[in-house]
Symmetry: C2
Subunit: 231 residues, 2 copies
């Protein structure tokens, strides 16, 4: 593992405050690997052997059942994922695959649990991480149950436009078919709903989105901190 990566990970909220020797212990057993796109990193249902930390690229978290498949979340650097499964030593609930060339640190979950049991500060950081993840999933569940497809897309675009400062013009960060799946609709529906949003002041040219009238979009999306807040 290169030194720069090391520091980047060390600075994650999850690891920032833990003891040096404990961090070293985690890194000692860790693997650091690069992957091309479309590589399965995790199969849902398998034992949670590794905590994954994405340092570069993009990873899709998804789940399937009886031929159907839906994307549950996207992971962007620098983030850990599948923490809950690792801590509880239970099977992964979601699968993961790279969407772009990606680099991933893989920490054996047995090491994770061992250090977690001894390092109180680390345990606190894990609490924080889990609480945030929990709230994110609750928000997503609320989204799906309370909003229509049109509202979900509008809210999604509203959020994307507010990455950092508000940008009225931006590129969709993922393929539309994946965004559609994430938002709980088909690609065809996404296409049609996006079209409908024209009279909410949104135009799309390929992956390029322009928001001409933020207030009209807001009126459709009615974003709320409780469903869209970033915490």
């Amino acid at each position: 593992m290169r030194d720069g990566d090391f520091r980047e990970i060390r600075n994650l909220p999850l690891f920032r405050d833990m003891e040096d020797r404990h961090f070293a212990e985690l890194m000692r057993g860790a693997y650091y690997q690069g992957f091309p796109p479309q590589v399965m990193l995790i199969h849902e249902g398998s034992k949670a052997d590794f905590l994954h930390i994405l340092t570069d690229g993009v990873v899709e978290l998804f789940a399937g059942c009886k031929g159907r498949e839906t994307t549950m979340a996207f992971a962007r650097p620098v983030t850990s994922f599948v923490l809950a499964a690792c801590i509880k030593d239970m099977p992964y609930l979601m699968s993961a695959r790279t969407l772009m060339p990606s680099r991933v640190v893989m920490i054996p979950s047995s090491d994770l649990r061992a250090v977690f049991a001894r390092d109180a500060v680390f345990a606190q950081a894990i609490v924080s991480e889990l609480a945030v993840s929990y709230r994110a999933v609750v928000r997503q569940a609320k989204n799906i149950k309370l909003r229509t497809a049109k509202e979900r897309l509008a809210a999604f675009l509203f959020r994307e436009a507010h990455t950092g400062e508000f940008e009225s013009n931006f590129e969709l960060p993922y393929e539309k078919r994946l965004i559609a799946s994430y938002l709980g609709m088909t690609p065809e529906s996404l296409s049609r709903v996006l079209r409908q949003l024209r009279d909410a002041g949104v135009t799309a040219e390929g992956a390029n989105i322009t928001i001409h009238d933020l207030e009209r979009l807001r009126a459709v999306a009615t974003p709320t901190a409780l469903m869209d807040g970033l915490d």
Copy 2:
């Protein structure tokens, strides 16, 4: 607070292993109250002032937006709820109301955070609790996104029948309209879908459900550990 309740709470996984004086500290500031049915305990969006622990009764966790409303979960004794919000000191994401006469221990979240910061064992218990909650919500999100209304109901009945030993005859634990909302459908749909399940070997008389052919129900629900598992 009576002694019996004290012990009951003390035996929760969340508190079982923490230090006596820390537990005492939590209980010192706690309120213990009984409520009639239909009382709002928590309004989503408000500050997370108290960790709630249900010792008797039933509580509905629900969320609303623009006139719509959906039930997110049911809490049964003995359980804590809204832990994530309390730990992160962020607004509640869900509202809560009693469905039956209920008794609730309310621990000021500031006390919770104070003890959490000092008691490593408590922090570990919180991790465990959060991880389990997280996985529960993920499972629910998968349910809603991957299954049809009919499958969701079938899986729900399948799970209810497996509370403890398998029971082919049991009572629905909540009003149908709430189950419908929990499963992401209208009461009318629930009624019709339940009717459809007759040829999967399920009959209903009021709240009383009888499963005549478990295998046929299983075929409709296709329950999986990853979506229905209890962990």
